[in-house]
Amino acid sequence: MSIPADLKYTPSHEWVRVEADGTLTVGITHHAQDLLGDMVFIENPAKGRVLNKGEECAVVESVKAASDVYAPVAGEVVAANGEVEASPESVNKDAYAAWMFKMKPANPADVGELLDAAAYQKLVESEAH
């Protein structure tokens, strides 16, 4: 499914899963990897890095171009996925399994500002012309 209903989304095409312990798992959406093409390079933020909402924190690079990934909310990076850095093409294979990093939100309520699946779907549809 290209826009899972149980995830949250950002206008810059990141997906966010709220884990049971309140941490957030972040990746880029199926739509984003489709636009970018074959991935060749991923650079995740370092563990411990403190991010503001919307801050550039990671880079995904496809054969075509490099693209920035933005922090969905303010918080601290608690883990980065080395597997996806070693095999960037896994993002093309399954964008929702290929998580990039995990973060602890500075304010758990901030998650409420993210888009739900329906709102993200509308966004994607409006971008297609």
């Binding site: 093409g37 074959d38 060749v40 390079f41 650079e43 880079v59 690079e61 054969v63 075509k64 490099a66 093409e89 093309n92």
Partner: protein
């Protein structure tokens, strides 16, 4: 309104992702550009290159015309079907285009020029034709489609698709062509693999493409075309050289023939010029991707990446870069990527040929 090749409907039927390529509606990939790249190095890939322009030059003085028009020497072409890669220069020694010239007979040479420069090239050649009083007929062959068949299995696929053609392919040497009616088979390519570039009448193209697919050829888009040619160390006009650059600073000195007294457009400027830069191959040692226009820092000053990519065959980023002279293969330089200075090694290119990594 974008221009269409005779295979436009075929690409769309195959689910190609289409893009605007210099005013042409072209397939950039049919799914995965990286898979397409690997297919060419290990099997057989098919490329629609009909956007490029075959140009027939006919008349009594074609050889004399071309001796003066281009930087390489067409007198190297004495056997019918033999081909020559050359730059066409302006009076300042800058590159108007790079092209391939096929000698068919003393009254007929065929040129193949780039899509984006075709109109410019034709206007330039017509002007020289008139200025020099050559009386030649220049015929752009937009009635032809061109399909490149590339990879270790290219010969097998072509032979299977066109029963009987093995009589030609069995003895066709690299950089030679054979004409059979309006079909023109050249053993040339832009990938560093064995293969052919075949011209057929436009209306035959969809049928021929499907026959090649049935013989095992896989459709390949422009995305893979670029990673393949860069691995093979082949220049791309508009990126690695243009009207403001000399062939001598573009890795193309080997295509400029100054060995005889032959006068050609741009020769005087080249002989007066001082060469201060070279086109070098780079391999990125740190993780990342080299791209056009990134700044290169060397012990002798700054340079610039002209073409960069992530090499699927080598699983590393590679590039061609215009850098100062005096930096030799094996030496390290730095490349500025997103405010970081990453380490790269200068290498002699090509990087890959016939499926093998050379560096």
């Amino acid at each position: 309104m974008l221009k269409h090749t005779p295979l436009n409907a075929t690409h769309r039927e195959l689910g190609a992702k289409m893009v605007d390529f210099g005013g042409w509606d072209m397939p950039v990939n049919y799914g995965s550009q990286i898979e397409e790249h690997h297919t060419v190095r290990s099997g057989c890939g098919l490329f629609d290159v009909s956007h490029m322009l075959p140009l027939d030059i006919r008349g009594a003085n074609v050889r004399a015309f071309l001796r003066r028009l281009v930087a390489n020497n067409v007198d190297k072409l004495q056997v019918s079907g033999k081909a020559l890669y050359s730059c066409m220069l302006n009076e300042a020694g800058g590159v108007i285009d790079d092209l391939i010239i096929y000698f068919m007979d003393e009254t007929w040479f065929r040129l193949v020029v780039n899509a984006g420069t075709a109109e410019k090239d034709l206007a330039w050649m017509e002007k020289m034709n008139a200025d020099w009083g050559m009386g030649l007929t220049l015929t752009p062959r937009r009635d032809l489609a061109m399909i490149a068949i590339q990879g270790p299995n290219a010969t097998q696929a072509l032979n299977e698709a066109l029963p009987g053609v093995d009589q030609i392919t069995a003895s066709l040497k690299p950089f030679n062509a054979a004409a059979m009616g309006e079909m023109f088979i050249a053993r040339t390519g832009y990938t560093g693999e064995d293969g052919f570039e075949v011209m057929v009448l436009a209306k035959s193209a969809p049928f021929f493409w499907k026959a090649l697919m049935e013989a095992g050829g896989k459709p390949i888009g422009l995305g893979a075309r670029d990673t393949l040619r860069l691995e093979a160390g082949m220049n791309l006009y508009g990126q690695d050289m243009d009207e403001t650059t000399s062939p001598l600073e573009s890795g193309l000195a080997w295509t400029v023939d100054l060995k005889t007294e032959r006068d050609f457009v741009g020769r005087a400027a080249l002989e007066k010029s001082e060469v201060t830069k070279q086109l070098a191959g780079l391999v990125l040692l740190d993780r990342g991707v080299l791209r056009s226009h990134q700044k290169v820092l060397t012990k002798n000053g700054e340079g610039e990446i002209t073409s960069g990519t992530f090499s699927p065959t080598m699983q590393q980023s590679i590039a061609l870069a215009r850098i100062p002279l005096g930096i030799a293969p094996g030496e390290e330089v730095e490349v500025e990527i997103r405010d970081k200075k990453l380490k790269a090694k200068v290498v002699k290119y090509p990087f890959v040929r016939n499926g093998k990594v050379l560096i």
